[in-house]
């Protein structure tokens, strides 16, 4: 299942774009002629481009399958041999930069899930409890548990960041930050 998913991963974004444009065109079709004009002018060519990109993705998968196991130099030799009509070998010695070793797919997904969880927790925290509560908690949690900073550094940096942030926006720019729905309820019930 995982290998099938990764095999078709180069088409994920194309399919997402196809879904976005498809649904926008569908929704726009219910609007009056003048209002749906621009979404149609943009949506239909974009859908056509998405289908073209799907074809290109499939071609890329085919090419990758054929090239599997071959180095860049071997691929270049193959292309040049085809172009000049006889076999060509490059003597490149050890001048090529070795490819950077990446994370395994499982590890990559695990780290992505953690990073997204932190971000989503911050957003949910802000909506429910407001900036003044969610931001310090997020910074402390991230610095301490993800960046592995010491408690002293974590608390020091969080205090400085929160002071600068809230001072800049609330006192200098006079912007009221969202106080959070739950916090508002609690304050209301306390008569605040």
């Amino acid at each position: 299942m995982m290998s099938t998913l990764s095999k078709y991963s180069n088409s994920f974004m194309t399919l997402l774009m196809l879904a976005i444009f498809g649904s926008m065109v569908l929704v726009a079709s219910r609007y009056p002629a003048g209002a749906r004009f621009m979404p149609f002018v943009l949506g239909f060519p974009a859908l056509a481009l998405c289908f073209l990109q799907l074809f290109l993705d499939a071609r890329e998968r085919h090419a990758t399958k054929q090239a599997q196991g071959k180095s860049d130099v071997e691929l270049a030799e193959e292309r040049v041999s085809k172009a000049v009509g006889h076999e060509v070998h490059f003597d490149v010695g050890n001048i090529l930069i070795p490819a950077e070793e990446g994370l395994s797919q499982g590890e990559q997904l695990r780290r992505e899930a953690i990073a997204w969880s932190y971000f989503l927790a911050l957003i949910v925290g802000i909506v429910l409890f407001g900036f003044h509560t969610a931001v310090p908690v997020f910074i402390v949690a991230f610095l301490r548990f993800r960046a592995k900073a010491s408690w002293l550094l974590t608390l020091g940096l969080t205090a400085i960041a929160c002071f600068v942030l809230f001072y800049a926006f609330e006192y200098v720019l006079h912007i009221t930050l969202h106080t959070g729905f739950i916090t508002d309820r609690i304050l209301e019930s306390m008569g605040g």
Partner: protein, 504 residues
């Protein structure tokens, strides 16, 4: 013309607010530039919330100087540790790092920082000289051409992402354009794609979209990657101020190289789609070709450090030309900057020529003064700035995420924008993860309303015949040629050979 030119300079220099913001812009730009992996686009995206509601000249000066000096400090990590801060710093690394290893880091840094400043000033001068030349071209444009210019802009920016990616880039550009239709239709009053959500009736928040496409995905990726950005020994980061001064003197000694490379950079900047790498590598190649001792290059030749810097900073001035007068950003960084300008109420196009010349001159002067301040500033803080290269990436993530989230909220003061931020961030991260270009999205979103208006006007004036107007035909031809060239570039047999030469 001269009265506007000098009155703009006077007004800028005597305004404490503008000069103060310029200083902050220079400082922030240098700091962001020195940290590898955090590019100019991200810094502009993060700065947008702070300029929201600011007076447009002061805001534009702040953003432009921050963007313009970004590359000036990028070479610190390239030279000292062999870690290019951005794509165009790679050319500086070729000779800069060997110089550092020979114990000449100070000389290399002095030469490259001064070269960068001189290049920036030269680029601004070229921009100023080109204004009278392009004026008649800009004035000949009608709504038909402006609609096609938006399409051409997206095509060029898509091309910037690499020949093989052009269709992905155009799709992303169309996504930006179609999302710009969210909100009340100006002709029928119908709320499009907004449903009952009142906060969407005024359209999608540009600040939120820019932050979601650039800042959040970059930070999630940095959190996933983890660890220190630079893993090179601190020991290499040593140099003396005497060496630094010797390096500064290399620039007047090589003044003719400075002129030639700056011209290369300015011209490359004026042609959207050529990219910053092209400017730096073309200048480096030119320096090697014209040198009497080309064998020194790659082993620590000071000309090899200066040439790319002259060129890549001169490019900034050049790329302002299509950005300001045609609404076509000369680079992906300029695309984000253009979005920020529009948020400030600056509408790139012919009105810049007819109504906003004082602003144009202020921006040109800001490039000159900003670059000079950056050079002086960097000479002093160089030693400490280099330490930033060792900052653990994971330590930066929470602060930049919080800044982006606050920025998204304060722009309209609506918590619903945080939900939009999450949704667009998912798409933005998908683009980053699967190597889809992101800059065309911003261009599409920024130009969406203007292109819809232009299309309606063009259709009202000429019907679909507007495509057959001479200037329109030229623009359509350019779009077709760009796509055809991208396809050719992607399918020609020598593709792998070029990749091989890059690896070498």
């Amino acid at each position: 013309m001269f009265d506007i030119m000098f009155s703009s300079l006077y007004a800028m220099l005597t305004s404490p607010q503008t000069m103060g913001l310029m200083l902050i812009g220079v400082f922030c730009g240098l700091l962001v530039g020195v940290v590898p992996g955090i590019g100019g686009r991200l810094s502009i995206a993060l700065a947008i919330p702070f300029v929201f509601g600011m007076e447009k000249v002061a805001g534009a000066v702040f953003l432009l100087t921050m963007h313009a000096v970004n590359g000036t400090s990028g070479q610190i990590s390239s030279i000292m540790f062999g870690v290019p801060g951005d794509g165009d710093d790679a050319a500086t690394t070729i000779d800069g790092y060997p110089m550092a290893k020979k114990g000449e880091a100070g000389r290399a840094l002095g030469a490259s920082v001064t070269a960068s400043g001189v290049g920036g000033v030269f680029g601004a001068a070229v921009l100023a000289l080109m204004i009278p030349v392009i004026e008649p071209v800009v004035m000949a444009f009608s709504p038909a051409e402006f609609f096609l210019m938006a399409m051409l802009g997206i095509t060029f920016i898509a091309f910037l992402a690499g020949g093989g990616q052009i269709f992905k880039g155009i799709i992303v550009g169309f996504l930006g354009l179609i999302l710009a239709t969210v909100g009340t239709d100006p002709y029928t009053g119908t709320p499009r794609f907004a449903g009952d959500y009142l906060f969407l009736w005024d359209g999608l928040s540009l600040v939120t979209a820019v932050l979601a496409v650039f800042a959040i995905p970059e930070m999630i990726a940095l959190a996933v990657r983890g660890g220190s950005i630079s893993s090179v020994s601190h020991e290499t980061a040593k140099f003396s101020y005497r060496q630094l001064f010797e390096g500064v003197l290399e620039v007047p000694r090589n003044w003719w190289l400075a002129v030639r490379c700056s011209v290369i950079g300015s011209v490359v900047g004026m042609i959207p789609g050529l990219g910053s790498n092209t400017a730096a590598w073309l200048a480096y190649g030119h320096a090697v070709q014209t040198s009497k001792t080309p064998e020194r290059f790659g082993k620590g030749a000071v000309e090899g450090v200066m040439a790319p810097e002259f060129s890549s900073n001169a490019r900034e001035g050049g790329s302002l030309l299509p950005t300001l007068f045609f609404g076509i950003p000369g680079s992906s960084g300029m695309a984000v900057l253009m979005g920020a300008f529009i948020i400030l109420g600056i509408q790139p196009g012919p009105t810049m020529m007819t109504q906003e010349m004082p602003l144009v001159w202020t921006l040109i002067w800001a490039l000159v003064v900003g670059n000079l301040i950056a050079v002086g500033f960097l000479m002093v803080i160089m030693r400490w700035a280099a330490v930033l290269t060792f900052v653990n990436g994971a330590m930066l993530v929470p602060f930049i995420i919080v800044l982006a989230v606050v920025g998204s909220y304060v722009n309209e003061g609506q918590w619903e924008n945080l939900v939009v931020l999450v949704i667009i961030s998912v798409v933005g991260y998908g683009m980053l993860r699967f190597n889809w270009p992101r800059a065309p999205f911003v261009i599409g979103l920024v130009l969406g309303r203007v292109s819809e208006e232009s299309l309606h006007k063009a259709l009202g004036l000429w019907g679909w015949q507007f495509f057959l107007r001479p200037l329109s035909l030229i623009l359509v031809g350019l779009i077709v040629l760009t796509i055809a060239f991208a396809i050719y570039k992607n399918t020609r047999p020598s593709k792998n050979l070029s990749q091989l030469s890059v690896a070498q």
